[in-house]
Amino acid sequence: MNKRADSIPGYLPVLDGVRALSLILIWVFHVWQQSWVFWIIRGADGQTILNLDLFQRCGYIAIDVFFVLSGFCLFYPLARSMFGDGKPTDWIAFYKKRARKILPSYLFLLLVIFLVKDLGYVNEYTAENGFKQFLSSLTFTSTADAMTHGGLVSTSWTLCIEVQFYLLFPAIAWLFKKRPVLSCLGIGVLSVLLRLWAVTHLPMSTVTQGIVFFYLDLFAYGMLAAYFVVWAQKRLSRADVLKLPMTLIAVVCLYLIYQYMKWMNGAQIPDMDAATVHRFIYRPLLNLPIALFLFASCFSYGFWQKGIWGNRVAAFLSTISYNFYLWHQNIHIYFKRHPVPILYTAEEAANHAHQPMIWFSLFTLAVSLLISIAVTYLLERPMYRYGFCGYFKKIGDWFKKK
């Protein structure tokens, strides 16, 4: 069983499972983009036994899950303070904590990319644009230009949106503290209108897709779910009688997310631009079930909360999720540029040969896991715990002892 679930007050083990599943989905999507190996198992007679290609094609939905989850996690402590638990909000402390969580691993990755150029996502940065790449990455503004969008770190565009949201968060949290339901409704409507305006007036470029205002409703749904979780914990003295309907609602939400993926995958869309529009417009049909799943799961049966979603494996994957998310796609790119001859050759990688690309997928997964574990436990967690100065003091003390 997940130890944190019993030792940390207000800890919600379901979140670990949701984060872990999203991480797996995004890996499945990205490794498919690099290997083009379809996860379809066929029997001896050629009949399909297992077909997982839907999850490969639609793994991008994990990004939406991350944003909803982020809204939930950011607002959860504030919601607890609204009901008299925990400390009142100290925004300086909030930003310090966020910086301590996000910056060390990210800056370390940028440093490694600076030293190992081929680890960068696009291999075309030169002395002229390299400065711009690093400057935009360091200031979380790489989404503002198509050239720098995910230029160094493939997944950094979502980190840019996340960090830009941190700047808006105090104002949105203030609104939520006054009128949570109305604020969520207002932000939801505003975001839908903004996206409608965008698809009819702007090109569906990566720059358009990297604007934080088009994602505000995702965060807002997560925030409202967090508010209702605390509300129900505090105001519903017999929430235990709701375990059956809440578990069923959570299951139906998963079914809805699965159906949404099928819909997106099977939609008859004439061109790529229209496919992006499709995803852009109908986002609430995905994100409302995600937020509702988070809420319902928090009041479901113990086996669902702790056994399925909050187990040890999920808690471990959740712990390393940030570093795995940052590193995995860049590692794919690096090992496509630098083949491992014992597993696959450069020609096989270029032609996406089936069996060698399975080895490529497994090898890069192992490397990504190892690096994520190392960076999480040697840098991210101690830096978060002791701070920048405290971290280096600890290292100094360790060397002195040795």
Binding site: M82, K177, K178, R179, P180, V181, L182, V189, L193, L196, W197, V199, T200, H201, Y227, W231, K234, R235, L236, S237, R238, V241, L242, L244, P245, M246, L248, I249, V252, C253, Y255, L256, Q259, Y260, K262, W263, A267, D273, A274, V277, H278, I281, Y282, L285, P289, L292
Partner: protein, 74 residues
């Protein structure tokens, strides 16, 4: 029906939607958007309906346990 503010808001919302997605601004106009929405697969609609029904059942179950619950911050 007395809530004029809400009805006003809904009418305003659709005016804004129609004005920003007027046909001809780009390839993706209102008919494209509504066309897609009309193709929401039936299992998704049943799923949303099931959640609504389960929500109502949850409220009845809670009330039948002799509790009413508390108010929101509204």
């Amino acid at each position: 029906m007395k809530n004029y503010g809400l009805w006003g808001f809904i009418v305003l919302y659709f005016i804004v939607v129609f004005s920003i997605t007027k046909p001809g601004t780009k390839d993706y106009n209102l008919s494209f958007i509504l066309d897609g929405l009309g193709k929401v697969p039936a299992p998704m609609l049943y799923g949303f309906l099931s959640i609504l029904v389960l929500g109502v059942i949850a409220v009845f179950m809670y009330r039948s346990a002799g509790e009413k619950g508390g108010k929101f911050h509204e």
